[in-house]
């Protein structure tokens, strides 16, 4: 059942030669490719030509398609090239073997946060994970699954709604200290403070941390590392107004907030933007304690 290729339409039309200059070589290659139009054949040739090939085993599930309601794994053979990422391998499989293979991706440079996956048992971004960095990539199969602890919509696509809800729960927006009426005044922020929050602003909402967290897996209401990091980003910013900061600390201090964290560091390990999440959670715990003492 794996690597099965549907018959492709082979009707073709004569392509008028478009006058071209410097890119004619590339165009010619493209035309040749278009005239073959047999992608499976193309894949077979590329695999023959490739010095190395890899095998990826991909989770498949589609509740709406007969024969796919039962979760299963499909295996695809993909020619390996230097610099190939997990996302590149998935795209190759989709474009050459099965156009119904579904996964989110967009910017391909670790900014959009849409392709967090579970690869060989670890959360990571598909576009940022080099195949060459996976242990034994040439000899064993690379296993690609959707993020655990989230509901699967289709194949590798999970429902992010709960994650977004938790992010919003910390009210991730800013009230600067009281502004003069109707006046906009530039807020000062010293470099040291900006440095302090810098890493926390790098979050791209990919959800890898939440998926890796044992606590979040057992407590659906736990805010989770990303949301707490978001709270940190504002609470630690010296431009934040006193009232808002107080409010924010109340939110993260509640039953399913910072105190749930058992400092296992799994979120920090998987964060593709290298945000020291666990540290930030710990610091907010300290902040919460300090904050409570203040009312004595």
């Amino acid at each position: 059942m794996s690597t099965e290729v549907k018959e492709k339409e082979t009707e073709q039309t004569e392509t008028e030669s478009v006058e071209s200059s410097h890119q004619s070589r590339r165009m010619e290659q493209k035309r040749q490719r278009a005239s073959q139009r047999d992608l499976e054949e193309e894949a077979r040739e590329e695999i023959d030509d490739a010095d190395e090939t890899i095998e990826i085993k991909v989770f498949r599930f589609d509740p709406e398609v007969a024969g796919k309601e039962e979760p299963r794994f499909d295996t695809f053979h993909v020619p390996f090239f230097k610099g190939m990422t997990v996302l590149d391998a998935l795209i190759y499989a989709r474009d050459h073997y099965d156009s119904s293979l579904t996964f989110r991706h967009s910017c391909r440079q670790a900014i959009c946060g849409s392709d967090a996956l579970f690869v060989n048992g670890t959360q990571c971004l598909g576009c940022k994970t080099q195949i060459a960095d996976l242990e034994g990539h040439l000899n064993s199969t690379i296993r690609i699954e959707p993020l655990p602890h989230q509901e699967v919509v289709k194949d590798l696509v999970v429902d992010m709604e709960h994650f977004y809800d938790q992010m919003e729960a910390v009210e991730p927006f800013f009230d600067a200290d009281e502004l003069p009426d109707g006046e906009l005044e530039e807020q000062r922020q010293d470099r040291e403070n900006r440095e302090k929050i810098k890493m926390s602003t790098r979050c791209i909402w990919c959800g890898a941390c939440m998926s890796s967290c044992n606590i979040a897996a057992g407590d659906n209401e736990y805010l989770g590392p990303a949301a707490i990091n978001k709270a940190y980003r504002f609470a630690m910013d010296e431009r934040e107004g006193e009232n808002r900061k107080q409010q924010r600390l109340n939110i993260i201090e509640q039953e399913h907030g910072v105190w749930r964290c058992q400092t296992q560091f799994s979120c920090t390990e998987v964060c593709p933007k290298d945000i020291p999440l666990t540290e930030h959670i710990q610091e907010l715990k300290r902040e919460a304690v300090k904050n409570n003492l203040k009312f004595w």
Binding site: E9, T10, E11, Q12, T13, T15, E16, V18, E19, S20, S21, H22, Q23, R26, M27, K30, A34, K82, G83, M84, D88, S99, S100, R104, S106, C107, R108, Q109, I111, C112, G113, S114, K128, Q130, V153, M160, Y164, E168, E171, P172, F173, F174, A176, L179, L184, E185, E186, Q187, R188, Q189, D190, R191, R194, I197, K198, T201, W205, F234, D237, R239
Partner: protein, 621 residues
């Protein structure tokens, strides 16, 4: 199934459909529309529909919400993932943090000089005057701008600007600003709907009533009813084969939708070729070709060398060097390559390895990391670059005091519009435009109309929407032999060759002939039956792109001079008589090209223009 690209046909579709389908989209001639069951689409009513969820759309919705007006923002992609996140280097505002003599009027003068006096002076003055407040506002909403030692917002040099005026967050300024705007929008509880693609505005040519769209996740159709529609759907630089956008963004949705709805387009011949696009190494994925290396690399001291190791900008622009205007630097690179002094891959070298590693990590973190992941160490070696299509100055003609297009209740904002940048754009002005004008459009709709409800939909407009849904269903079932993606690639090569950095009359004419051929082939497109797949999305994009490509080739042929980003080898000089904008108007089922002279700047800006401020590169050394 055979498809007809209803291009300039005399078919009076308007009579039955409300819309005059003049040219956009690939329309089936054989459809089983009559058999389609009516009413099986989702209907959404909202006072204001904002199409596009980047900075321009978000800022518009924020202004509306601050006035208590409900809107719905829709985007083609996931939450927070608009093309704004790719804007790297910065956002201009005459704050004068480091150069106190800077002033909004000088910012305006720099913008008009760079736009070769084709800008709409009202647009320029509106943006430059508002920017210091917009930055303070972003600051108050939490944007983590880089700071000077005394805690004020740091500013850096950008090409062709007289002072340090560009505020920045490392080289991820757009991402940081969008993050801030999304946070603000969440605070105001502005609804956002992701993965929705608009395929047609519901308009009778006089007034807009909403939009026809489909859900990209499950494919179902959606009819949006709205009293007001704001188009904030980006530009069309992805039409060129080497471009700095994602493959599926900046595909011309905004201008094409507006043109079809009855609005005018302006300045479409002006596309900015950014001097420094990546040149993919053989071993990298082809997608890296054309991706942007931010101007900030040059702003922070990066130098350009040809293959002979010569710092060639000394010959082209001894005073401003690498930081001359983007069109000047892009043409200089192209000239070096054409003269045989380029690299094997047709580029030149950009080198910033004289800076410390720690400096690069702090000031250009994203560039540093990206090249590192590709095995290139910016701190130790140069990178290969070549020009890439980056930004389209042209777009929808609007009134910049309100954002109104010529179609009642239809507004446009951001890269979708034309007017702020004229014949070329200053780096750092595109982000500025989004937040400055987004607020103005939102404020205007809220104060002039205060829409609370949606008007009922006239029957003929509903019929037009249903007709559009039939077309989409038929398109999804198209089974011809032409791949939409390949047609888009060929269109990109066509524009690169015929309407690229250097243009001439005969080549533009050949380009139109080749385009007609592509259109013919688009009749035989094959989509393979799925509304949620990429081929279907590309087929929808292809319609928008074919429309814009034709307008580009026609307006570029019309402008028989060289000015700003538009360079004609057969008319290499700037012609004072051509200080006019080319306006594209729908005329029945055809298009009419006419020209219009831009207004004159205010006295204060004129004075700044007369003073002749400019960047002195040697300040940096």
């Amino acid at each position: 199934m055979v498809f007809d690209v209803a291009y300039l046909t005399a078919e009076p579709l308007g009579k039955t459909r409300g819309n005059l389908r003049i040219m956009t989209t690939i329309t089936p001639v054989e459809t089983d529309a009559s058999e389609r069951e009516r009413g099986d689409y989702e209907e959404v009513a909202v006072p204001v529909l904002v199409i596009g969820a980047g900075a321009a759309g978000a800022r518009t919705a924020i202004a509306l919400a601050e006035h208590g007006i409900d809107s719905l923002v829709i985007g083609k992609r996931d939450h927070g993932d608009a093309h704004t996140v790719w804007a790297a280097g910065g956002i201009n505002a005459a704050l004068g943090s480091l150069d106190p003599e800077d002033d909004w009027a000088i910012h305006a003068a720099d913008t008009i000089d760079e736009g070769h006096h084709l800008n709409d002076p009202t647009a320029v003055e509106t943006v430059t005057r508002a920017m210091p407040d917009r930055i303070r506002e972003l600051d108050a909403w939490g944007t983590e701008f880089a700071r000077t030692p005394d805690g004020t917002i740091d500013q850096r040099y950008f090409g062709a600007q007289s002072f340090r005026r560009t505020c920045f967050v490392g080289d991820r300024t757009g991402e940081a600003i969008l993050d801030t705007l999304v946070g603000r929008a969440q605070e105001l509880e502005i609804p956002y709907r992701e993965n929705v693609m608009v395929t047609e505005l519901l308009s009778d040519g006089e007034r807009v009533y909403g939009a026809a769209a489909y859900d990209m996740e499950d494919g179902h159709e959606i009819l949006f009813r709205a009293s007001h529609v704001v188009l904030a759907a980006g530009g069309f630089s992805a039409l060129w084969s080497r471009h700095s956008s994602r493959e599926d963004e900046n595909t011309g949705d905004g201008p094409a939708l507006a043109l079809e709805a009855g609005a005018d387009l302006l300045d479409v011949e002006f596309v900015q070729f950014h001097p420094t696009g990546m040149v993919a190494d053989d071993e990298w994925d082809d997608d890296w070709n054309g991706r942007l290396v931010t101007e900030a690399v040059r702003g922070e001291g990066g130098r350009l060398y040809n293959a002979d190791g010569e710092r060639f900008m000394e010959r082209y622009s001894p005073d401003q060097m690498e930081l001359d205007a983007r069109d000047v630097v892009a043409r200089a690179i192209q000239a070096e390559v054409d003269a045989g002094r380029g690299t094997d891959n047709g580029g030149v070298y950009l080198d910033i390895s004289h800076r410390d590693r720690s400096f690069l990590k702090e000031r250009l973190p994203r560039m540093y990391e990206r090249f590192q992941s590709l095995g290139v160490d910016l701190a130790a070696e140069p990178v290969e670059i070549a020009p890439t299509a980056h930004y389209t100055m042209g777009g929808v003609d609007v009134d910049f005091t309100t954002g109104e297009t010529g179609v009642d209740r239809l507004y446009a904002v951001g890269e979708t519009t034309a007017g702020v940048h004229g014949a070329n754009r200053l780096g750092g002005n595109s982000l500025a435009e989004t937040v400055a004008l987004g607020k103005i459009v939102g404020d205007h709709i809220a104060t002039a109309y205060a829409p609370q409800r949606t008007d009922p939909l006239p029957e003929r407009i509903r019929a037009a929407a249903e007709h559009e849904f039939d077309r989409l269903a038929a398109l999804a079932a198209a089974d011809g032999g032409e791949s939409p993606q390949e047609l888009i690639e060929e269109l990109g090569e066509l524009l690169w060759d015929h309407a690229g950095i250097r243009r001439d009359g005969p080549s533009l004419a050949d380009g139109r002939a080749a385009l007609a051929d592509l259109r013919e082939r688009a009749r035989h497109v094959g989509v393979a039956g799925d509304h949620t797949g990429r081929p279907f999305e590309f087929a929808v994009d292809l319609g928008f792109m074919l429309t814009l490509a034709d307008v580009i080739l026609r307006t570029a042929a019309r402008r028989t001079e060289s000015r700003g980003a538009h360079y004609r080898t057969d008319y290499p000089e700037r012609d004072p008589d051509w200080r006019r904008n080319v306006l594209v108007t729908r005329d029945g089922e055809d298009l009419r090209l006419s020209t219009r002279t831009p207004g004159t700047p205010s006295e204060r800006v004129q004075r700044a223009l007369d003073e002749g401020y400019e960047l002195d590169y040697h300040h940096l050394e």
